[in-house]
């Protein structure tokens, strides 16, 4: 810091101490605005964040429209899930760099440890490339392979939490886990993996916790495990927890990894061709109607962030604006009340720029104090959010980005609020001191 700025800082501290009531009012106004704004912005940030940074841009969610022609409206969105037949067709076509088919479920877990009663655990039935495609970290072991999918192997990957609960932690690869009464060999234990939102299967809840058990989809079908999530049928579709593989029902999610724009274009064309082929075979009745959304587009399309959270963020920004306008008024009153001192300083050789800088540093100091208090209010606000019953409430924590943003917003806000009063004050004519006498 230059000696000049150090001098302005010293003057600012003195000026703020001179009128503690006014200073407190300004800091409070800013802190309340910052606290409210950052609470809602943090919730918005957490909810609208990228669940797989660095990887999400290569992940796509294909959609096709296998419904019958009844109530067909051109331009209508295709189905959000796929049928068993289409899922398996797309999976086996291997047109993407990686692909995975999945659906949620629930399994009864029986532990061999003393004192641990059987319990239900959320499961995901999927295919082998789910793990490398989403970059799922492993603490022990590895994912199952394509051969396990084909052979309907009784293998399982479990979460770290389930590993601790069932086996007491440690390397449990090779151990036997009893699910719904059947024995499964543990091939992998996951590391820390909490993608938020629960993007790959939002039908079990946008902010659901990751599953405890991951099983081959083919195996889950082989031993008729119940599936969780919606089943949308048309025509003579039956639905239920285990829809028939041939039923006209969608209940599976299908993801692909496409590493280049050319592959994205080619895959989109493949979906069109596939739809046309299915129509010519008589399975599809509608003209090809496909979508290929990236992960973030898929989240946006599904409006993962609740409308009330967006509304609250806008309201909080409005409130911050009101607080800033209030601070502008208080700073203006404070600075113009010191027109005498400012006039003297100008007469003694202070340029307009020097006065502007001095007052701006004073505003910045108010902003810094407002930021610190605002941060405490933000933490309090987030704690209050976490007490709410909504499914995303538990995610409301301040991360380093938002911590920096809090101070950035406080400083930017106070400097913005201070700029106009400082500018007005530095225009005070230096002749004022002579003329006023």
């Amino acid at each position: 810091m230059s000696s000049q700025n150090a001098y302005y800082l010293q003057l600012a501290l003195r000026a703020l101490q001179r009128n503690p009531v006014l200073t407190t009012l300004m800091v409070l106004a800013l802190a309340v605005g910052i606290g409210t704004c950052m609470t809602t912005l943090t919730v918005l940030h957490v909810l609208s964040g990228d669940p797989l940074p660095g990887r999400s841009s290569d992940l796509y969610y294909p959609q096709i429209d296998p419904r019958d022609a009844l109530s067909y409206r051109p331009g209508e969105e295709p189905m959000g899930q796929v049928t068993w037949t289409d899922g398996m067709n797309l999976l086996e076509a291997h047109r993407a760099d990686r692909q995975a088919l999945m659906t949620g479920g629930s399994v009864a877990v029986q532990s061999t440890r003393n004192g641990v009663d059987p319990f239900f655990e959320d499961a995901l039935y999927t295919t082998a490339e789910f793990f490398p495609m989403f970059g799922v970290p492993f603490r022990y072991g590895h994912a199952w392979g394509a051969a396990d999918d084909s052979s309907r192997a009784r293998v399982a990957v479990i979460s770290d939490a389930l590993n601790r609960r069932v086996f007491g932690g440690g390397d449990s690869v090779g151990k036997v886990l009893r699910l719904n009464g059947a024995a499964f060999r543990v091939v992998g234990v996951l590391g820390d993996w909490h993608p938020s939102p629960h993007f790959y299967d939002m039908y079990v809840g946008s902010y659901a916790e990751p599953e405890g058990v991951y099983l081959p989809l083919s195996t889950s079908q082989d031993i008729k495990m119940d599936h969780n999530g919606p089943v949308d049928c048309w025509g003579n579709g039956g639905g239920g927890p285990r829809p028939a593989h041939t039923a006209p029902c969608v209940w599976l999610q299908f993801w692909v990894q496409l590493d280049s724009p050319a592959q994205v274009a080619a895959y989109r064309q493949f979906l069109v061709n596939y739809s046309a082929q299915q129509k010519s075979l008589g399975r599809f009745q509608r003209p090809p109607n496909v979508r290929l959304r990236s992960l973030m587009q898929w989240l946006s399309y599904n409006q993962v962030v609740p409308d009330d959270v967006r509304m609250q963020a806008w309201l909080a920004l409005g409130f911050l604006l009101v607080c800033l306008v209030n601070t502008v008024g208080l700073l203006l009153a404070k600075f113009l009340r010191r027109s005498g001192e400012i006039g003297v300083r100008r007469a003694l050789g202070a340029s307009r720029r020097a006065i502007f800088m001095q007052l701006l540093i004073e505003s910045g100091l108010v902003g810094l104090a407002g930021g610190v208090l605002g941060l405490l209010l933000t933490l309090l606000g987030l704690w209050a959010v976490r007490q709410q019953p909504s499914d995303y409430a538990k995610l409301a924590h301040l991360d380093p980005t938002m911590l920096l943003a809090t101070f950035g917003l406080a400083l930017a806000g106070s400097l913005l609020a201070g700029a106009l009063p400082a500018w007005r004050a530095c225009l005070i004519p230096p002749a004022l001191q002579l003329k006023a006498q």
Partner: protein, 244 residues
């Protein structure tokens, strides 16, 4: 030191034009002590604000220490004001929450001077006005005369070429006024150029030369400058004020 040629100042509002100075000319040589007198509203203070670069003029020419100030921007005027001019105000205009030493250091802060140099100059100036013992006092703890001495020390600390005083004894009782005037005369004897605005004929009589302003025009300039005892003997080497 200071030369104004046909300087005019017009204040304009939507409906009224006020001519505060009309073709005002004045030349003040280095080392002179000039008193500017005139009735209220005559333009004395306007002259002082223009001379002190606190205000621009409408027409004419103004040379300060041979530098034409016309067209200078705010930064240039501020720097020139800071380096060449010292102000003594009628109401002292000390900053209330700064102590004596900090008040005297104020103009030096705008000169990007080191802390040590600033302190040295401020202490010398305060010693010069006899207030070395009051460094940590605040303005409210000083008498009017002492406050004006601090203001004079503040004006002297930067080593100005020109000291502008606006009714420097106007807010003081007789005894204090006498002390302050004696100090100003002493500073002049040491070589400073001083222009003092006053409406008091007795004070004006103590200057070397009087300029009388009426309706924004200089109506009377004494032909024969009066020199203070000792001034004739002054040489350049006698100037003891600190220079920047």
């Amino acid at each position: 030191m200071l030369e104004m040629r046909e300087v005019s100042k017009v204040y304009r509002t939507e409906t009224v034009e006020t001519h505060a100075l009309r073709g005002f000319s004045l030349k003040v040589d280095e080392g002179e002590f000039v008193a500017v007198t005139g009735p209220s509203g005559s333009g004395k203070t306007t002259f002082l604000t223009i001379a002190g670069l606190l205000e621009d003029f409408t027409r004419g020419e103004y040379l300060l220490d041979h530098v034409n100030v016309h067209g200078m921007n705010d930064n240039q005027r501020s720097r020139l004001r800071n380096e060449k001019i010292g102000f003594v105000f009628q109401a002292f205009n000390l900053i209330p929450d700064l102590n004596v030493l900090d008040n005297v250091e104020v103009p030096l802060h705008y000169r990007h001077m080191s802390g040590g140099e600033r302190r040295k100059r401020a202490l010398a100036a305060l010693e010069r006005v006899g207030l070395s013992a009051r460094l940590k006092h605040y303005p409210a703890e000083l008498s009017g005369g002492q406050q004006q001495r601090v203001a004079i020390a503040r004006a002297l600390a930067g080593g100005p070429r020109l000291l502008l005083a606006d009714e420097p004894t106007g807010n003081l009782d007789t005894a204090m006024a006498r002390g302050v005037m004696e100090l100003i005369e002493e500073i002049h004897r040491e070589g400073a150029t001083i222009i003092m605005v006053t409406h008091d004929p007795e004070l004006a009589a103590r200057a070397q030369r009087n300029v009388h302003i009426v309706d924004g025009m200089a109506t009377g300039v004494s032909e024969e400058p009066r020199f203070h005892p000792g001034l004739r003997e002054r040489t350049a080497g006698d100037v003891s004020l600190p220079r920047s």
